[in-house]
């Protein structure tokens, strides 16, 4: 199975949607690739991914995350890397936001839309968050 994911949003809910599916797929022996674009870049930014905001008006769910013992985003990101999930940062968005590759976590690639399309061309599952 091959899974292609686009992560285009950057709050904590988005991070869980992306990394839960990605790690579950990788644990099922799938090949997984994620294209991080626009606010989705927060999910792999060295500092930002450790302090992602909850969506406005949903701050009260913080307690629920703790109660359900949901692992921190950091842990899921490490696990995804550990299981060889391919992560591609969007070059164009990085240019727009004046971000450099060294501001992101280790091990990511940088590429454009065509990079993702060529990866996703033969994917069995394609998701956008």
């Amino acid at each position: 199975m091959k899974v292609a994911i686009i992560a285009a949003n950057g709050n904590m809910f988005d991070a869980y949607k992306v990394f839960n599916i990605a790690t579950a797929a990788a644990a099922t022996d799938a090949e997984v690739g994620i294209f991080f674009t626009f606010e989705g870049l927060n999910l792999i930014h060295k500092d930002a991914h450790k302090q992602l905001p909850l969506p406005s008006g949903k701050e009260h769910f913080q307690e629920g995350f703790q109660k359900a013992n949901v692992p921190p985003v950091e842990e899921l990101l490490d696990m995804a890397k550990d299981m060889n999930v391919k992560m591609i940062g969007c070059q164009m968005t990085m240019d727009v936001m004046s971000l450099e590759q060294d501001q992101f976590v280790e091990g990511i690639e940088v590429g454009g839309a065509a990079t993702f399309l060529s990866y996703a061309e033969d994917a069995d599952v394609t998701l956008a968050f």
């Binding site: 839960n20 579950a24 644990a27 099922t28 022996d29 359900a68």
Partner: protein, 189 residues
Amino acid sequence: MEVNVNHVLDAKGLACPMPIVKTKKEIDQIEPGQVIEIQATDQGSTADLKAWAENTGHQYLGTKEEGDVLKHYVRKSSEEDTTETKHQDVLELENLKDRLEGDEQITILDVREPAEYAFGHIPGSINIPLGELEDRSEELNQDDDIHVICRTGNRSDLAAQKLSGKGFSSVKNVVPGMKDWDGPVNQNH
């Protein structure tokens, strides 16, 4: 009854997708054919583990609930489905069913792992896993009419050869095996 397993994974208190991720890591460390018990409190883990096992080719055996804890049993996949059988004396599953319905005195030896046996076996069958047969064959009577069964017919083939080699007079390998059995089953877990 306790279900005998080779490995126990404690995933209690962990939320999705951690039980799956941990299971994947643990199963990579064990031998093909071995059974792992995954203890979880995530209520979604039953459906998740079933789906995960189906996609990865491992064998989901079943789940039992103990209070708030779900104990899932999974057997790591092995190459058994591809091997051809070597033991000459083979009996089709349908014929075994007929014999059971008749009055014949037959012995059914189930050589799967105890956890597989626990989640469904032919009533009256004896469980000695293939790996223990060498040491436990004296529990069987050499002159009995022994019908050996497993899940797909491969482990039972090896067991039948082993028993014949030890001088058992009437040993039949039942094929294909429990995966296609639609007769009565007992559970003991």
